[in-house]
Symmetry: C2
Subunit: 360 residues, 2 copies
Amino acid sequence: MEGVHQLKKDYPWTQTPLVVSAPMRLIALADMAVEVSKAGGLGFISSGTDTSTLAHELQAATSLLQHCTLPTESDTLPLGIGFINWSADLATALPLIRKYRPAAVWFFAPSSLSSLQEWTAQTRAASPHTKIWIQIGSVREALDAVSHAAPDVLVVQGTDAGGHGLARGASLFTLLPEVHDALCQQQAAQSTSSSMPVLAAAGGITEGRGAAAALTLGAAALVLGTRFLAAPEARISHGYRAAILSAVDGGQCTVRTNVYDKLRGTTGWAATHNARGVINRSYSDAVAGMSEDENKRAYEREVEKGDDGWGVEGRMTTYAGSGVGLIKTVQPAGEIVREVREGARGVVEGMYSWSAKEKG
Amino acid sequence: MEGVHQLKKDYPWTQTPLVVSAPMRLIALADMAVEVSKAGGLGFISSGTDTSTLAHELQAATSLLQHCTLPTESDTLPLGIGFINWSADLATALPLIRKYRPAAVWFFAPSSLSSLQEWTAQTRAASPHTKIWIQIGSVREALDAVSHAAPDVLVVQGTDAGGHGLARGASLFTLLPEVHDALCQQQAAQSTSSSMPVLAAAGGITEGRGAAAALTLGAAALVLGTRFLAAPEARISHGYRAAILSAVDGGQCTVRTNVYDKLRGTTGWAATHNARGVINRSYSDAVAGMSEDENKRAYEREVEKGDDGWGVEGRMTTYAGSGVGLIKTVQPAGEIVREVREGARGVVEGMYSWSAKEKG
């Protein structure tokens, strides 16, 4: 449980264990982030593809938070901003970070380690109390991030995650402990006095059991993405949400692929990355050999169907993690935060009573 | 912790939480299974591809157990036998099951549900006290196995596992809870009085943290494969073991593929299955476009190198799970059992003290 006290100190309005909403591109905006933070979690606003809508979202969040009195560290804004670094614009982002002073920024998929270093240094200069979160998907990425950017929090993303991440990888089951041990070793070898980053876990956490398992594996904060798609605050269409609620057998009904990026014209992701989404006709046609052009035309016709274009027989992209089969109901974001937090506590306590009884 | 008491009743020589060694083909034989059971775990002997060496291994195990007094249920043999059902021969297996009465049999990858049903019924007829374990990798497979064969234990295998399993899947993080919930629902719908199978977890458990996480997610028994490759009792070459000990960043250095099956001439696996192994030159050459014939010839030349044929630059197959990066030392199988069991308990207790302190 290393890191728990640091989190409580850095985000004093939050409760333990810290539940975090992931900065899902186009989906996690001011409404969701504010509700998550108000419930004692930490909400992230996605900066979008190119940072162009970020100013508007930060203004909206500030208004929504106006009558709340969430205690923050050094008067920061009690939420975070997430960037997809290879596509985000540092020059647009910096004045906003300086003006709004978010409690945290979350960096993901930089074009290079030197770019990551630059984003980190400039952010720290613009807003010294803003904490740096960096998302990684392998032990190598973890070691590189720590040695180049010394983040406050390392978001360890397992391969169950929905949306983008490393194409090849391990789940949190093995990735979290291996990252933890490798960082300890790196620190011992460098004999520096710099503190270990706090570990946050992302990828496959949907409710109390997964949250407790992530704590067990060494995480101090719990990041959920897919689960928040079922919150009314998520900026998604009814069709998308319905596809999330109806999906079952999450490991079978989702797949990691770059097919959806291609059809939607999302170019720019490195070949090392792809994204997990619900298998639909776009994917099965691609696997069956349909040309990209034809598949793209079919996708574009489907867009016109609106909500009916989603689902297994549809072609609209339903990014979702392998935990999607556990999501059955629409719930406000704040309620999700509370349920996951209390669920995790309940599982931990239940485990202990069992263990104590076994011991006799 | 449902199932824990059932396990203690069915395998009275074991200790809680139950640590199980997986029936790894050609690798997990009498030596390993006996040492695991002697340490209070449950060891499985792999029946091999075609059951032809099984009689010899069971005889060897019986001799090794001769001076042990492990208390068993109805005088069964205190270990299990694992079958790869599509390739195993029921007619050869049955007399051995009848004669040796193993505490458990483990079925995996049957050619059909009716074949699974037949194996189960015949095994129960031949040895009524032998418990039936069935390995599954999806919610669908779990529901089918339970409704067709009513196993005593369902081995839920997540996609981090080494060796063979479903090509597509989720990790234990999401698969275990979704299987659990789906079985509860199925049982409620059928309003039968039949009891839920006990859930065992396989795939990614390497040490105490993963073991505790699996318990947290609803498993009552913990199956380890890859970790036992580092035990001297594993029937593998020095080269294989060295490749296990030197592997790092398990999600990056391993991959699920059918390339290794092709090169080794292991035919017969359904297209739904493949296997996770350490990435080596066979795999990278296949990805780079080398023809199967040429790759196979290169593999066959490599076989002659003996131990030097393993490793990242080699071509010998190193099946391993994504937890391989956590394995650093050679340890006797019995010591692994004790360390994982005590490690899991320690993690559970540590979690609780934290939780209690947080509560104030």
